[in-house]
């Protein structure tokens, strides 16, 4: 009998150094659990995240990509998250336009004090992406050997 393995999605989380990465640290400090599927990449600011990185992640087999930054108005660099918000709004809308499941991408604002929000967001995102299943529409099959 073949037992179907539970689908474990690969989730890439880009976190800005000043708020969201610190928020992720805080959820660790408070021992708030979220699945190990989430792997965090530290960037100085949400505005450092190039759409190329997000597409790259999907190409290489990510099933969901989430970008976390400081709340609007609280960016360490004053305005970075505002630019990030416009870029991601347009990019996510485009991916949707091309028929990619919109739930695979997400932008969230998590402050350094919001450890609980970080964990809750990740739990929710992992659950959502798990429900969607494997990313098929935006992957490079050659990377999947």
């Amino acid at each position: 009998m073949q037992i179907e393995e539970k689908f474990e999605p690969t989730i890439v989380a880009f976190c800005c150094n000043w708020c969201s990465y610190a928020g992720a640290d805080l959820s660790g400090t408070n021992r708030l659990q979220y699945p190990a599927n989430v792997k965090i990449i530290r960037v100085p600011c949400s505005c450092r995240v190039n759409p190329m990185f997000i597409l790259r992640a999907f190409q290489r087999g990510a099933d969901g990509v989430i970008l976390c930054g400081c709340h609007p108005g609280d960016c360490h660099y004053t305005t970075g998250n505002y630019y990030a918000r416009r870029r991601m709004t347009l990019l996510f809308s485009m991916l949707d336009f091309l028929g990619i499941e919109r739930e695979r991408t997400r932008l969230e604002w998590v402050s350094a004090a919001e450890g609980a929000k970080f964990a809750a967001t990740m739990n929710d995102f992992v659950e959502t992406v798990t429900r969607l299943g494997k990313n098929r529409r935006l992957e490079d099959l050659r990377c999947n050997k």
């Binding site: 690969t10 890439v12 150094n17 000043w18 708020c19 990465y21 610190a22 992720a24 640290d25 805080l26 959820s27 660790g28 400090t29 021992r31 708030l32 659990q33 979220y34 190990a36 792997k39 965090i40 990449i41 530290r42 960037v43 100085p44 600011c45 505005c47 450092r48 995240v49 190039n50 759409p51 190329m52 990185f53 790259r56 992640a57 290489r60 087999g61 990510a62 400081c70 108005g73 609280d74 960016c75 360490h76 660099y77 004053t78 305005t79 970075g80 630019y83 870029r87 402050s111 350094a112 004090a113 964990a119 990377c143």
Partner: protein, 663 residues
């Protein structure tokens, strides 16, 4: 090819209990370029650092990957160790396997797997690292203090004392802040004015300090060492140089019905006023909302009586541009509005007052000349009820604050004690939930109120205050006796929660300094860096950071000054090494990056280039000022040709991490 060493930290059992550290080290040891791997109990300890240093030397490592706690904790520690062993400090990458792995996972297998992936990502990134050197920027040797209360005053005096110039910006017409409104101070009961006003005079007389009173910060640009601040000096309609502060105008002004905000509206002032006798600067100010001349063009009495000719009805706001090396936030606090607490009948009876109003009523310079009288009928109250924790310690879904306001227990003990001392025939009841008196001589002070002055401390809360026949019927519970009490009080004093001044939120945005959900400024570290904001060059003094009494405020103000002095004492600051840099051969000169740079760090220049086809061309290319660039990376994404990249977080480094994680 790099020669990489991998160092896996146990962090005691913090990591090792959930992550198989040996398995992580061994797995990572098989990665390309890794020539050494090791695990150890505490990598951050001196012994652990020595292991790193030795391995760098013994194995000729070009870089190190440390799998440990968050880089926010020990990145600097490990960078210093690497530098001490002779490699560039930016050749260190940290895989966060504690906060973002062992502490959030319970299953050892998946946590170990994840730790290996995080380690791989760090190795992949490190392969693309290059040595970086940080640039330097000069420091403007002057500080700005925003807020002229006791916190701002103390910080300014200490900075000036060290020989640096300081400017104080105060939005009110005088410095002094809340402390100038207070009558006596706990736990010594010395008069607030007697200890505050000499400091205010010191400020006024200091050659190093400039006071911009009746002024507000309008815009802040720049960065640590080089802030450009726009300060709006609001029109006083009085020439600051000519006004002698004689006060004649404030006596002759025919507009007498102006609420006196210094006395919290308990009495009235004139439309031209000096807030109090010891004001600094002692210059009259016209309240444009009430001045008949400014509103209708008819009156001019103050101008006629002013022998100095200082009145100027045509005065306009002016905006000054000033440079500072450091900025101190000392914006202070206010009691919360009590309109949502009408079970205590605050808006229904003038005899229900806040503690700060009580201070003014008992202050010799206050509306009653220091005699304790009821606001409603001017009679002596014989029964006073103090209610503690009004709006403090709430659950966060209501209108109050979740925190303890910290100062109320002590000032209420003070009020109760002073009342009993001056008016022994007055019964004083204090309803408390807890009496919180940590602090030197604080609990002794509270005990004196109870034991020597006979203040009735009742454990319980007031449920309802009903104004009835000139009395205030206070219904409350006495939890210890198990009784519901009904007290016919003459005066009820509410210990209103304190909150940060409303100006703090927009200021934080200007300064890009972070705040917590209560609008208190966040400190760089809650224990180890309590007087600095995480934003470099921004320092915190007094209640803007959290509730504090005067001794604590002054202590923090001086600590803050010490930090500022430490900064101003430097001639140059080491800049961020992770700055943006354009590949000039790829740059289109299109000016897109410049538009998204929040620091104005990008300029364009025309340069002559030898092209691959051996011709020469003059091309417009971007150039980044590394002293100004803070390394956010906005430009790198705006750039269509990929010419702009960021040291330390390059496109290829981040993509290498992505690849390693998604493999």
């Amino acid at each position: 090819m790099q020669r990489i060493g991998v160092f896996v930290c146990w962090c005691g059992s913090n990591i090792a209990a959930t992550v198989d550290v040996k398995a992580v080290a061994e797995a990572l040891g098989k990665e390309p370029g890794v020539v050494f791997f090791e695990d150890y109990q505490y990598m951050c300890s001196e012994e652990g650092q020595n292991k790193i240093k030795n391995a760098i030397k013994d194995y000729a490592l070009t870089g190190a990957v440390i799998c440990s706690c968050s880089p926010r904790m020990h990145e600097n520690t490990f960078r210093k160790a690497a530098a001490a062993a002779g490699i560039n400090s930016f050749m260190v990458e940290i895989a966060n396997i504690r906060e973002q792995c062992s502490w959030i996972h319970k299953d050892k297998v998946s946590a170990t797997e994840k730790a290996i992936v995080l380690g791989r990502a760090a190795i992949a990134k490190l392969h693309l690292n290059a040595p970086l050197t940080a640039g330097e920027s000069p420091v403007v040797k002057r500080a700005l203090v925003i807020g002229g209360g006791i916190a701002g005053i103390q910080t300014a005096l200490d900075i000036a004392d060290a020989g640096f110039e300081v400017d104080i910006v105060e939005k009110k017409p005088t410095i002094g802040g809340k402390m100038s409104q207070i009558d006596k101070t706990f736990p010594t009961l010395d008069c607030a004015a007697c200890i505050l006003t000499p400091k205010m005079v010191d400020v006024a007389q200091s050659e190093k300090i400039r006071i911009f009173a009746y002024s507000e910060v309008e815009a802040v640009k720049g960065f640590v060492g080089n802030f450009n601040v726009s300060i709006r000096k609001k029109a006083r309609y009085v020439d600051e140089v000519k006004c002698t502060g004689c006060g004649l105008c404030t006596e002759k002004c025919p507009q007498k019905k102006v609420p006196n905000d210094f006395n919290l509206g308990l009495d009235q002032k004139r439309a031209i006023y000096i807030p109090f006798a010891q004001a600094v600067p002692k210059i009259a100010t016209i309240d444009a909302d009430y001045c008949t001349m400014l509103k209708t063009g008819k009156c001019g009495v103050c101008s006629k009586v002013c022998t100095a000719g200082a009145i100027d009805y045509k005065q306009k706001d002016t905006v000054l541009e000033e440079q500072y090396g450091a900025i101190v936030v000392a914006t202070g606090f206010n009691p919360i509005e009590l309109t949502k607490y009408d079970e205590f009948a605050y808006s229904q009876s003038p005899d229900v007052i806040t503690s700060l109003e009580f201070e003014r009523i008992t202050n010799a310079a206050g509306p009653t000349g220091g005699t304790l009288l009821r606001p409603s009928d001017g009679t002596h109250p014989h029964k006073i009820v103090f209610v503690q924790c009004v709006g403090s310690r709430e659950d966060g879904n209501g209108c109050g604050k979740t925190y303890c306001s910290k100062i109320c227990c002590m000032y209420t003990a003070k009020h109760a004690m002073l009342t009993r001392e001056k008016y022994p025939d007055t019964e004083v009841y204090v309803f408390y939930i807890d009496v919180r008196t940590p602090g030197k001589n604080f609990d002794e002070f509270y005990r004196r109120a109870v034991e020597e002055y006979g203040v009735h401390y009742i454990k319980g809360m007031v449920g309802k205050v009903s104004p009835e026949n000139g009395k205030l019927m206070v219904r409350a519970s006495d939890l210890i006796e198990g009784k519901q009490l009904l007290i016919d009080a003459d005066l009820v004093v509410l210990a209103a929660a304190i909150e940060p001044d409303k100006s703090a939120r927009p200021l934080a945005t200007m300064l890009t300094a972070s705040m917590d959900t209560n609008d208190f400024f966040t400190e760089a570290h809650p224990k180890l860096r309590p007087v600095e904001s995480p934003t470099a060059g921004i320092f915190l003094s007094g209640c803007c950071q959290g509730p504090k009494d005067i001794p604590e405020t002054v202590a923090q103000a001086s600590a803050c000054a010490a930090k500022v002095i430490g900064l101003l004492n430097k001639d140059k600051l080491t800049c961020n090494a992770c700055v943006a840099h354009p590949d000039e051969m790829l740059c289109n000169g299109c000016s897109t990056c410049e538009k998204v740079c929040p620091y104005g760090a990008i300029t364009y220049e025309s340069k002559e280039f030898r092209m691959p086809d051996r011709t020469t061309r003059i091309r417009r290319v971007a150039s980044v000022n590394p002293a100004v660039c803070q390394g956010c990376g906005a430009c790198t994404v705006a750039c269509p040709s990929g010419a702009m990249d960021l040291h330390g977080f390059s496109n290829r480094q981040i993509m290498a991490e992505v690849d390693a994680i998604c493999k």
